[in-house]
Amino acid sequence: MAVADARARCPALALAEADPKADAALVEGLADWSRRFTPLAAPDPPDGVLLDVTGAAHLFGGEAALLDDIENRLRRLGFSARAAIAPGPALARALARFSNMRNVASETGQEALDRLVAAFPIEALELEGDALAGMRRAGLRRLGDLLERPRGPLAARFGKEAMTRLDALTCRIRDPIAPRFEAPAFIAERRFPDGLTRQADLETTLKRLSADLCPMLERAGVGARRLEAVFYRVDGAVKRIAVGTNRPLRNPDRLAALLIERLSAVAEEGLDTGYGFDVLRLSATEVESAGDTQTNLAPPPRGAHDDADLGDLLDRLGARLGLRRVLRLHSEAAHLPEFAVAAIPAAFGPPTAFPAQEAMRPLRLFERPEPIEAIALFPDGPPLKFRWRRVLREIVAFEGPERIAPPWWGDAPAEFTRDYFHVQDKEGQLFWLFREGLYGRETDRPHWFVHGLS
């Protein structure tokens, strides 16, 4: 129906532009929100969310109570929603859309399921245009019409897809739910009748959750490398904070300290508690096996804990500042200076030893070389003067050139050869310059850059 027709029939019609992206984002947000009921939640665009509640329903007082809870909460958020539970995801989808029945027990027999499905219209198969129109032309109105006919001719006429969907509806096959986030192996959570708003309460809860989580980790013989705390706000918003550790950790105090550090960093930027958080969940999203350490027999020698202390310190800094801001320098087998050192977040582990090196290198390196104008006596000679940041600098001493070629063994090197010079200007400042391009062989106008300072 065109907009003009609709307006003519109902002058008070409210019109809104369709925004599929925002719709998809909303469904994803709802899927995140529904993770409060089960860790396995998947958005089911355009208008559904699939939850795998196997083994989770009893936590909410049974399946019927769970359905009521979900529908009530969604209604309070402003959605009109229909929920259904069934032995298979396809059947649950169809129940929510085409039936008044809400709950089909998982031990229902195949005949009963077939009888149930037989009453659905063929639209429940959600087939594309041709097959659906074909079924209508053939006089098939209900799924029962399909079920009582032989499969072979139907499959030949309407395609294999139709039969697969029919089998999924009758739970003969079970199509998997692809959850939005993988379910972590270790989860601890706390629920509250009213939302928590004070930061101190959140911190206390994080401490309790860490204390709940650590025995689980200990029983499995692992330690956490990545932790995620998820806060479910009563109005449906979901906040998450993540921390990383540079070695497997299962000490509740340390874990709680890291989380609290991260929480206060987030709170400084503004943690909108709104009406409060009513579910807090802590999960170890990445774990690593960790052996037990012997405790308290003899005092360890001084310095024995240095690595552990440094690790704790870097974890704390990373929790506050962000994991990507606390770095350790790793040596890489590369000739180009900017690739010879990799700065990798400390949470990924300690670096290996650097190889001994003969060549002089500057103490500081720019993240990208800064172009300069340089004057040299010969096109391939050392520089005499250069202008960097609008200041002309006269070179009084230099060391070089050191020629560094780009990786020529790859396909078609995109870069030119560089000639590096250490130079000192009249003021006594030290620069690491390079000329890009061999004069006459690679380019006629080599460019100069300053790459580092000492």
């Binding site: 704790d312 870097l314 500042l321 801001r325 030893a353 002089m360 000679g381 003021e427 000492s454």
Partner: protein
């Protein structure tokens, strides 16, 4: 760097011979005494700061804004010395984003060549000065760290007596050396609880001989040479009260091989020899 150190010492000997040759005997003796005095109060005046396990806070200010990388390099040299005095512990370098854009990030290969053990080194990038001071305090409190260098754009509003006192107490607790390489700030604008405040500048190089088309080679020790003056030192830290003239600039060098500070001998050209046609040209070039 071992080769570098040896060639530097050779250079010194060669220069001394040139000086003896060039001048008369009395002048040579005088200059020798002069040097000996220099060596005596050379680099070891900072040594009390590095007494093992003694936490303290020092500020290093650049004399001019372009001297900031040099000030950070001096802080790094002090950190290396502190690490050597403690014989263990890690080194943490805190860089503010602004400073990283202005002067680049610390480079692993260069640090390794200067003697930094990169398996016990961490680089922390902070967005704001306040974050940097917080990170510095955390590092100082930790027993794992021997020294921390923080390169931060300071403001009197953020870094005041209370903030510096916090840092000093944290350093005392952890027994680490805190080095604040201030950027974009004048030393006179700050009052702080730091035990030592020095100002560093790059050493102006000897001017290049205009006749030469090329330039003399660079001394391998060049990154570790500074002009330095002690603006403030806590009474009794580096000697008696008034032992240091805050206006006196001294030349100081860091030897990464021995992990020690020493006096940087004045790099003077030897005088022209009056009785001989010309001195060896190489020695002039090397000077």
């Amino acid at each position: 760097m071992s080769q570098g150190g040896v060639s530097e010492r050779l250079l010194f000997l060669r220069r001394r011979i040139a000086a003896i040759e060039a001048r008369g005997g009395a002048a040579a003796r005088e200059s020798l005494q002069d040097r000996r005095r220099c060596e005596e109060d050379g680099g070891d005046f900072l040594d009390p700061l590095f007494a093992a396990g003694r936490g303290s806070l020092s500020e290093i200010f650049p004399a001019r804004p372009p001297d900031a990388p040099g000030a950070a390099a001096f802080a790094l040299a002090m950190a290396l010395k502190a690490r050597a005095a403690r014989a263990s512990g890690a080194l943490v370098f805190i860089v503010e984003e602004m400073s990283a854009r202005e002067f680049g990030l610390p480079y692993g290969r260069g640090l390794a060549a200067a003697g930094v053990d990169l398996s016990r080194f961490a680089l922390v990038r902070v967005r704001r000065p306040r974050e940097g001071l917080w990170a510095m305090e955390e590092v100082l409190k930790s027993p794992a760290c021997a020294a921390v260098v923080a390169e931060i754009f300071l403001e009197p509003r953020i870094y005041d007596l209370a903030a510096s006192r916090r840092l000093l107490l944290a350093a005392r607790r952890g027994g680490a050396l805190g080095l604040l390489a201030a950027q974009g700030a004048e030393a006179a604008r700050f009052s702080s609880a730091a035990e030592l405040r020095v100002e560093t500048a790059a050493r102006p190089a000897a001017p290049a001989p205009p006749a030469l088309a090329t330039r003399p080679p660079l001394s391998p020790l060049a990154p570790f040479l500074w002009r330095l003056r002690v603006l403030k030192a806590r009474a009794g830290l580096l000697g008696a009260l008034g032992a240091f003239d805050p206006a006196q600039w001294r030349d100081i060098a860091f030897d990464p091989d021995r992990v020690a500070f020493r006096h940087a001998f004045p790099e003077r050209l030897p005088a022209e020899a009056p009785d001989r046609p010309s001195a060896a040209p190489t020695s002039r070039l090397r000077a």
